[in-house]
């Protein structure tokens, strides 16, 4: 019984703060959005070695409004990583304990990760279009994120293709662990192999205080949104499962 009590379950204390976390996250993100335009100063976008030809246009270091997307892009990406880390953690926990509850947690974590990964792809792609002048380039970060997105989608396709809950949970856990190992390798490989095709894009180092402030507000806001979404979705899935279990019991 003591062990049972430790399992994540709908109606525990996080559920009480989840709606407030979501609300606070929404408010903070909105404040961050306003701050990005009103408070943080314009910055140099990614600086290029001199003037480079990228995607048919000449690009050099200049003040870019498109840089504003960074205030959302980076926090969203970090939240997606955190969601993925939780999904991986629960997958390992599932393989250790074989508790179906951890499988539910991992699945919900993956769902949240997919939402944030897609947000990252969209914001990143907008930035790529305006900064580098192309919609898509096989840059290490873009490639890795594309692969990450495909693996998460494959995870859900796999889940849908298996009927037995036990087997589905085990396979899904194995795939999510492999994916979490594969994605850093993917980044390393695409990063380290020298390529003559892509221009070398240097990053401006460091953030000023106003930028850091804005990123911080967005970061906390989106983390709260991620947490709130996770918890509410988990509650919903759990209640549906319990409902189903009750129905099955009545039928027997």
């Amino acid at each position: 019984m003591a062990k049972e009590a430790k399992l994540p379950e709908a109606g525990q204390w996080p559920d009480r703060i989840a709606p407030w976390a979501l609300l606070a996250g929404a408010i903070l993100s909105t404040i961050g959005f306003l701050m990005a335009f009103l408070y943080a100063g314009p910055v140099n976008g990614a600086a290029v070695n001199g003037v480079e030809m990228i995607g048919g246009t000449m690009v050099s270091s200049k003040l870019l409004l498109s840089q504003k997307i960074f205030y959302f892009h980076m926090p969203v990406a970090i939240v997606s990583f955190i969601a993925l880390a939780f999904a991986g953690y629960y997958s390992i926990r599932f393989l250790m304990t074989r508790q179906a509850r951890f499988d539910t947690c991992a699945k919900v974590g993956m769902e949240i990760a997919l939402v944030f990964v897609i947000c990252t792809m969209v914001t990143g792609d907008l930035w790529t279009r305006f900064e580098w002048g192309v919609w898509w380039t096989w840059d290490p970060r873009l490639t890795t994120y594309l692969i990450l997105m495909l693996v998460i989608i494959a995870y859900f396709v796999l889940r849908n293709a298996i009927d037995e809950p036990e087997r589905r949970a085990a396979y899904a856990a194995v795939i999510s662990i492999i994916a979490l190992i594969d994605v850093p390798i993917c980044y390393m490989v695409t990063r380290l192999i020298p390529s003559s095709i892509h221009p070398v894009v240097l990053r401006e180092g460091g953030m000023t205080a106003d930028m850091g402030m804005t990123v911080g507000v967005c970061m906390i806001g989106l983390l709260l949104v991620g947490f709130g979404l996770y918890r509410m979705r988990f509650r919903q899935v759990r209640l549906a499962q319990r409902m189903q279990a009750m129905k099955d019991q009545i039928e027997d």
């Binding site: 396709v157 085990a170 492999i178 020298p194």
Partner: protein, 238 residues
């Protein structure tokens, strides 16, 4: 008369499982023929796709990538079938009844998959050369292509064995394997394609690119084989 029972060593178990796969294949030649024909068909498709290119210039740049596209598609076909016949006669259940370490099954199956893929490559790679590269002057060290071929094949067979064990129990298993296999094998594919291209083109400093790519591909192989080996127990007993 005393009956002595001796538990076969792990290596003997491995050899027996491997021999079972190879013997079955030599009797039916199911996988090798289908993979070989498929490889030729992919080459024909490439022929149509590259109809308007000038061989000397464009083709050399893309040849390495095309070779790996050929290998990935052929491997997908072979890996799909590698567990299909285990399932048909309940062979897998029989193997699982034997008290052996589950990872031995993984090693044996991965080894046989490596052999089948290599056997197909022995036919497909010279054919690729014959169809596309005879009119092109290759770099002097192009025979080193054997290294990425070997490293890539081992990695694909390793991760592919794990994934095909998973997909054999799913609905729509052919598509499912591709959906899982292609993103997960992407880093290996990228490294192998870049090392092959570096060798074939032989531009300045190609040896650095080659060595670095091969090192990364080898690292992928080691990590992924170890992970698959560890996780295989969970997959096959699920």
């Amino acid at each position: 008369m005393a009956v002595t029972l001796r538990k076969p060593s792990t290596f003997q178990q491995y050899k027996t499982l491997l021999r079972k796969d190879l013997e079955r294949e030599f009797r039916t030649r199911e996988m090798l023929t289908s993979m070989g024909i498929y490889a030729v068909l992919v080459l024909v498709v490439f022929g149509a796709a590259l109809g308007q290119t000038t061989p000397a210039l464009d083709l050399l740049q893309v040849a390495g990538g095309l070779l790996w596209a050929l290998i990935v598609f052929t491997s997908l076909l072979g890996l799909n079938r590698s567990f299909a016949h285990e399932k048909e006669q309940g062979c897998l259940e029989g193997i699982l009844l034997v008290p052996l370490d589950r990872s031995v099954i993984f090693l044996a199956k991965a080894t046989s998959n490596v052999f089948f893929l290599l056997a197909v490559e022995v036919v497909a790679v010279p054919l690729f050369y014959f169809f596309f590269l005879t009119g092109v002057s290759l770099a002097s060290d192009f025979w080193l292509v054997l290294v990425p071929l070997l490293v890539g094949t081992i990695g694909m067979a390793g991760i592919g064995t794990l994934l095909s064990t998973i997909t054999i129990n799913t609905r729509g298993k052919d598509v499912m394997l591709a959906v899982l296999f292609v993103p997960l094998v992407f880093p290996l594919l990228y490294a192998c394609a870049s090392s092959t291209t570096a060798l074939l083109v032989g531009a300045e400093g190609y040896m650095d690119v080659f060595v670095q790519s091969i090192a990364l591909a080898g690292g992928y192989d080691v990590i992924m084989l170890l992970v698959s080996w560890v996780l295989y127990d969970f997959v096959i007993s699920a």
